[in-house]
Symmetry: C2
Protein backbone atom coordinates (compact mmCIF):
# COMPACT_ATOMS: atom_id res chain seq x y z
CA UNK A 1 0.00 0.00 0.00
CA UNK A 2 1.20 3.51 -0.80
CA UNK A 3 0.51 4.71 2.70
CA UNK A 4 3.23 2.49 3.98
CA UNK A 5 5.82 4.24 1.83
CA UNK A 6 4.74 7.54 3.31
CA UNK A 7 4.88 6.19 6.84
CA UNK A 8 8.26 4.63 6.24
CA UNK A 9 9.48 8.05 5.27
CA UNK A 10 8.54 9.24 8.76
CA UNK A 11 5.71 11.38 7.40
CA UNK A 12 2.09 11.48 8.43
CA UNK A 13 -0.37 10.04 5.94
CA UNK A 14 -2.37 13.01 4.76
CA UNK A 15 -4.66 13.54 1.82
CA UNK A 16 -2.22 15.80 -0.07
CA UNK A 17 0.54 13.22 0.26
CA UNK A 18 -1.65 10.33 -0.84
CA UNK A 19 -3.00 12.24 -3.82
CA UNK A 20 0.41 13.48 -4.97
CA UNK A 21 1.96 10.04 -4.70
CA UNK A 22 -1.02 8.64 -6.59
CA UNK A 23 -0.55 11.12 -9.41
CA UNK A 24 3.11 10.26 -9.74
CA UNK A 25 2.31 6.55 -9.77
CA UNK A 26 -0.35 6.98 -12.41
CA UNK A 27 1.83 9.28 -14.54
CA UNK A 28 3.70 6.41 -16.15
CA UNK A 29 6.88 7.46 -17.90
CA UNK A 30 6.11 11.17 -17.67
CA UNK A 31 8.22 13.66 -15.84
CA UNK A 32 5.98 16.16 -14.07
CA UNK A 33 6.68 19.65 -12.84
CA UNK A 34 5.24 20.82 -9.52
CA UNK A 35 2.83 22.91 -11.54
CA UNK A 36 1.76 19.83 -13.55
CA UNK A 37 1.02 17.97 -10.35
CA UNK A 38 -0.86 20.96 -8.98
CA UNK A 39 -3.01 21.27 -12.10
CA UNK A 40 -3.76 17.58 -12.02
CA UNK A 41 -4.92 17.92 -8.42
CA UNK A 42 -7.21 20.80 -9.35
CA UNK A 43 -8.62 18.79 -12.23
CA UNK A 44 -9.41 15.99 -9.82
CA UNK A 45 -11.20 18.45 -7.59
CA UNK A 46 -8.62 18.30 -4.82
CA UNK A 47 -8.13 21.61 -3.09
CA UNK A 48 -4.43 21.43 -2.31
CA UNK A 49 -2.10 24.44 -2.27
CA UNK A 50 0.83 24.81 -4.62
CA UNK A 51 3.13 25.41 -1.65
CA UNK A 52 2.10 22.05 -0.30
CA UNK A 53 2.87 20.39 -3.61
CA UNK A 54 6.39 21.81 -3.51
CA UNK A 55 6.80 20.90 0.15
CA UNK A 56 5.61 17.35 -0.34
CA UNK A 57 7.68 16.75 -3.47
CA UNK A 58 10.75 17.99 -1.63
CA UNK A 59 9.98 15.73 1.33
CA UNK A 60 9.44 12.76 -0.98
CA UNK A 61 12.75 13.53 -2.61
CA UNK A 62 14.46 13.62 0.77
CA UNK A 63 12.88 10.29 1.59
CA UNK A 64 14.11 8.80 -1.66
CA UNK A 65 10.60 8.28 -2.99
CA UNK A 66 11.00 10.61 -5.96
CA UNK A 67 13.82 12.04 -8.03
CA UNK A 68 14.04 15.68 -9.02
CA UNK A 69 15.46 16.37 -12.49
CA UNK A 70 16.80 19.59 -13.94
CA UNK A 71 16.23 19.61 -17.67
CA UNK A 72 16.84 23.01 -19.22
CA UNK A 73 13.23 24.14 -19.17
CA UNK A 74 13.46 26.52 -16.25
CA UNK A 75 11.57 24.29 -13.88
CA UNK A 76 12.32 21.07 -12.05
CA UNK A 77 10.48 17.91 -12.98
CA UNK A 78 9.81 14.94 -10.75
CA UNK A 79 9.42 11.23 -11.27
CA UNK A 80 8.97 8.26 -8.97
CA UNK A 81 12.28 6.79 -7.87
CA UNK A 82 12.42 3.41 -9.55
CA UNK A 83 15.47 2.49 -7.55
CA UNK A 84 17.53 2.13 -10.67
CA UNK A 85 19.60 5.04 -11.89
CA UNK A 86 19.01 6.17 -15.46
CA UNK A 87 19.81 9.08 -17.74
CA UNK A 88 17.63 11.00 -20.19
CA UNK A 89 17.20 11.80 -23.84
CA UNK A 90 14.93 14.82 -24.30
CA UNK A 91 13.31 16.01 -27.54
CA UNK A 92 13.82 19.75 -27.86
CA UNK A 93 10.70 20.05 -29.98
CA UNK A 94 8.02 18.06 -28.15
CA UNK A 95 9.77 17.46 -24.81
CA UNK A 96 9.37 13.70 -25.13
CA UNK A 97 11.67 11.93 -22.72
CA UNK A 98 13.36 8.59 -23.25
CA UNK A 99 15.26 6.94 -20.44
CA UNK A 100 18.42 4.91 -20.83
CA UNK A 101 21.32 3.39 -18.96
CA UNK A 102 24.72 2.79 -20.47
CA UNK A 103 27.15 0.80 -18.33
CA UNK A 104 30.08 1.97 -20.41
CA UNK A 105 29.29 5.62 -19.76
CA UNK A 106 28.74 4.98 -16.07
CA UNK A 107 32.10 3.27 -15.88
CA UNK A 108 33.95 6.03 -17.71
CA UNK A 109 32.42 8.60 -15.39
CA UNK A 110 33.75 6.83 -12.33
CA UNK A 111 37.14 6.59 -13.94
CA UNK A 112 37.18 10.29 -14.78
CA UNK A 113 36.11 11.34 -11.30
CA UNK A 114 38.79 9.13 -9.76
CA UNK A 115 41.40 10.42 -12.14
CA UNK A 116 40.73 13.98 -10.94
CA UNK A 117 40.62 12.99 -7.28
CA UNK A 118 36.88 13.53 -6.97
CA UNK A 119 34.74 11.38 -4.70
CA UNK A 120 31.76 11.12 -7.04
CA UNK A 121 28.36 11.83 -5.50
CA UNK A 122 26.00 12.13 -8.39
CA UNK A 123 25.83 12.97 -12.03
CA UNK A 124 23.42 14.28 -14.59
CA UNK A 125 23.54 13.37 -18.25
CA UNK A 126 20.92 14.70 -20.60
CA UNK A 127 21.09 14.34 -24.34
CA UNK A 128 19.01 16.89 -26.26
CA UNK A 129 17.85 16.14 -29.77
CA UNK A 130 14.93 15.83 -32.13
CA UNK A 131 12.86 12.65 -31.92
CA UNK A 132 11.72 10.59 -34.90
CA UNK A 133 8.19 11.96 -34.87
CA UNK A 134 9.34 15.56 -34.75
CA UNK A 135 11.92 14.96 -37.46
CA UNK A 136 9.13 13.56 -39.64
CA UNK A 137 6.83 16.59 -39.23
CA UNK A 138 9.72 18.97 -39.75
Amino acid sequence: MDNQQIKDAGLKVTRPREKILGILERSGRRHLSAEDVYKELLTNGDDIGLATVYRVLTQFEGAGLVCRRHFETGQSVFELNSGDHHDHLVCVRCNRVVEFVDPMIEERQSAIAAQHGFHIEDHSLVIYGVCTDCAANA
Copy 2:
Protein backbone atom coordinates in the same frame (compact mmCIF):
# COMPACT_ATOMS: atom_id res chain seq x y z
CA MET B 1 41.34 42.32 -31.50
CA ASP B 2 38.25 41.55 -29.39
CA ASN B 3 36.24 44.21 -31.11
CA GLN B 4 36.30 42.20 -34.27
CA GLN B 5 34.55 39.30 -32.58
CA ILE B 6 31.82 41.66 -31.45
CA LYS B 7 31.48 43.15 -34.92
CA ASP B 8 31.42 39.73 -36.52
CA ALA B 9 28.49 38.92 -34.29
CA GLY B 10 26.63 41.80 -35.90
CA LEU B 11 26.72 43.82 -32.70
CA LYS B 12 27.90 47.38 -32.14
CA VAL B 13 31.12 47.77 -30.25
CA THR B 14 30.10 49.37 -26.99
CA ARG B 15 31.84 49.80 -23.67
CA PRO B 16 29.65 47.26 -21.87
CA ARG B 17 30.35 44.64 -24.51
CA GLU B 18 34.09 45.26 -24.53
CA LYS B 19 34.33 45.16 -20.75
CA ILE B 20 32.24 42.03 -20.40
CA LEU B 21 34.18 40.19 -23.07
CA GLY B 22 37.40 41.32 -21.39
CA ILE B 23 36.29 39.96 -18.05
CA LEU B 24 35.44 36.60 -19.55
CA GLU B 25 38.78 36.47 -21.32
CA ARG B 26 40.67 37.32 -18.17
CA SER B 27 38.67 34.89 -16.04
CA GLY B 28 40.73 31.89 -17.06
CA ARG B 29 39.12 28.57 -16.29
CA ARG B 30 36.42 30.10 -14.10
CA HIS B 31 32.75 29.85 -14.82
CA LEU B 32 31.09 33.16 -13.99
CA SER B 33 27.47 33.93 -13.20
CA ALA B 34 25.93 37.14 -14.54
CA GLU B 35 26.13 38.46 -11.00
CA ASP B 36 29.85 37.62 -10.85
CA VAL B 37 30.46 39.56 -14.05
CA TYR B 38 28.38 42.45 -12.74
CA LYS B 39 30.31 42.61 -9.47
CA GLU B 40 33.59 42.50 -11.34
CA LEU B 41 32.46 45.45 -13.44
CA LEU B 42 31.54 47.41 -10.33
CA THR B 43 34.92 46.62 -8.79
CA ASN B 44 36.59 48.00 -11.91
CA GLY B 45 34.55 51.16 -11.57
CA ASP B 46 32.42 50.49 -14.62
CA ASP B 47 28.87 51.66 -14.22
CA ILE B 48 27.04 49.02 -16.20
CA GLY B 49 23.59 47.75 -15.34
CA LEU B 50 22.84 44.17 -14.41
CA ALA B 51 20.17 44.03 -17.11
CA THR B 52 22.83 44.90 -19.66
CA VAL B 53 25.07 42.14 -18.37
CA TYR B 54 22.29 39.61 -18.87
CA ARG B 55 21.43 41.04 -22.28
CA VAL B 56 24.99 41.02 -23.51
CA LEU B 57 25.73 37.53 -22.21
CA THR B 58 22.64 36.25 -23.98
CA GLN B 59 23.66 37.99 -27.19
CA PHE B 60 27.17 36.60 -26.93
CA GLU B 61 25.69 33.18 -26.44
CA GLY B 62 23.54 33.60 -29.52
CA ALA B 63 26.62 34.64 -31.46
CA GLY B 64 28.51 31.58 -30.28
CA LEU B 65 31.02 33.65 -28.33
CA VAL B 66 30.12 32.22 -24.95
CA CYS B 67 28.51 29.08 -23.57
CA ARG B 68 25.87 29.12 -20.87
CA ARG B 69 26.00 26.25 -18.38
CA HIS B 70 23.32 25.05 -16.01
CA PHE B 71 24.98 23.50 -12.99
CA GLU B 72 22.55 22.85 -10.16
CA THR B 73 23.27 26.02 -8.25
CA GLY B 74 20.14 27.88 -9.21
CA GLN B 75 21.91 30.28 -11.55
CA SER B 76 23.46 30.01 -14.99
CA VAL B 77 27.21 30.38 -15.40
CA PHE B 78 29.03 31.52 -18.50
CA GLU B 79 32.40 30.81 -20.04
CA LEU B 80 34.10 31.79 -23.27
CA ASN B 81 33.37 29.36 -26.08
CA SER B 82 36.68 27.69 -26.71
CA GLY B 83 35.33 26.02 -29.79
CA ASP B 84 35.96 22.61 -28.31
CA HIS B 85 33.16 20.84 -26.52
CA HIS B 86 33.85 19.66 -22.99
CA ASP B 87 31.99 18.39 -19.96
CA HIS B 88 32.28 19.28 -16.28
CA LEU B 89 33.13 17.87 -12.89
CA VAL B 90 31.81 20.11 -10.10
CA CYS B 91 32.73 19.99 -6.41
CA VAL B 92 29.54 20.17 -4.36
CA ARG B 93 31.44 21.70 -1.42
CA CYS B 94 33.60 24.46 -2.94
CA ASN B 95 32.11 24.65 -6.44
CA ARG B 96 35.48 24.04 -8.07
CA VAL B 97 35.06 23.06 -11.69
CA VAL B 98 37.25 20.70 -13.68
CA GLU B 99 36.74 20.27 -17.40
CA PHE B 100 37.18 17.05 -19.32
CA VAL B 101 36.46 15.34 -22.59
CA ASP B 102 36.03 11.62 -22.97
CA PRO B 103 35.84 10.32 -26.54
CA MET B 104 34.35 7.06 -25.37
CA ILE B 105 31.46 8.81 -23.65
CA GLU B 106 30.87 11.06 -26.64
CA GLU B 107 30.76 8.06 -28.88
CA ARG B 108 28.33 6.14 -26.69
CA GLN B 109 26.05 9.15 -26.56
CA SER B 110 25.83 9.31 -30.34
CA ALA B 111 25.12 5.62 -30.46
CA ILE B 112 22.35 5.90 -27.87
CA ALA B 113 20.72 8.85 -29.61
CA ALA B 114 20.82 7.00 -32.94
CA GLN B 115 19.46 3.87 -31.36
CA HIS B 116 16.40 5.79 -30.18
CA GLY B 117 15.95 7.61 -33.46
CA PHE B 118 17.02 10.96 -32.05
CA HIS B 119 18.92 13.48 -34.14
CA ILE B 120 21.30 14.64 -31.39
CA GLU B 121 21.63 18.39 -30.98
CA ASP B 122 23.44 18.87 -27.74
CA HIS B 123 24.11 17.25 -24.44
CA SER B 124 25.03 18.14 -20.92
CA LEU B 125 27.04 15.91 -18.64
CA VAL B 126 27.93 17.12 -15.17
CA ILE B 127 29.52 14.93 -12.54
CA TYR B 128 29.03 16.15 -8.97
CA GLY B 129 31.44 15.10 -6.27
CA VAL B 130 33.84 16.19 -3.55
CA CYS B 131 37.26 17.38 -4.66
CA THR B 132 40.55 16.32 -3.06
CA ASP B 133 40.96 19.53 -1.07
CA CYS B 134 37.45 19.39 0.33
CA ALA B 135 37.79 15.69 1.15
CA ALA B 136 40.96 16.55 3.10
CA ASN B 137 39.33 19.29 5.22
CA ALA B 138 36.30 17.09 5.84
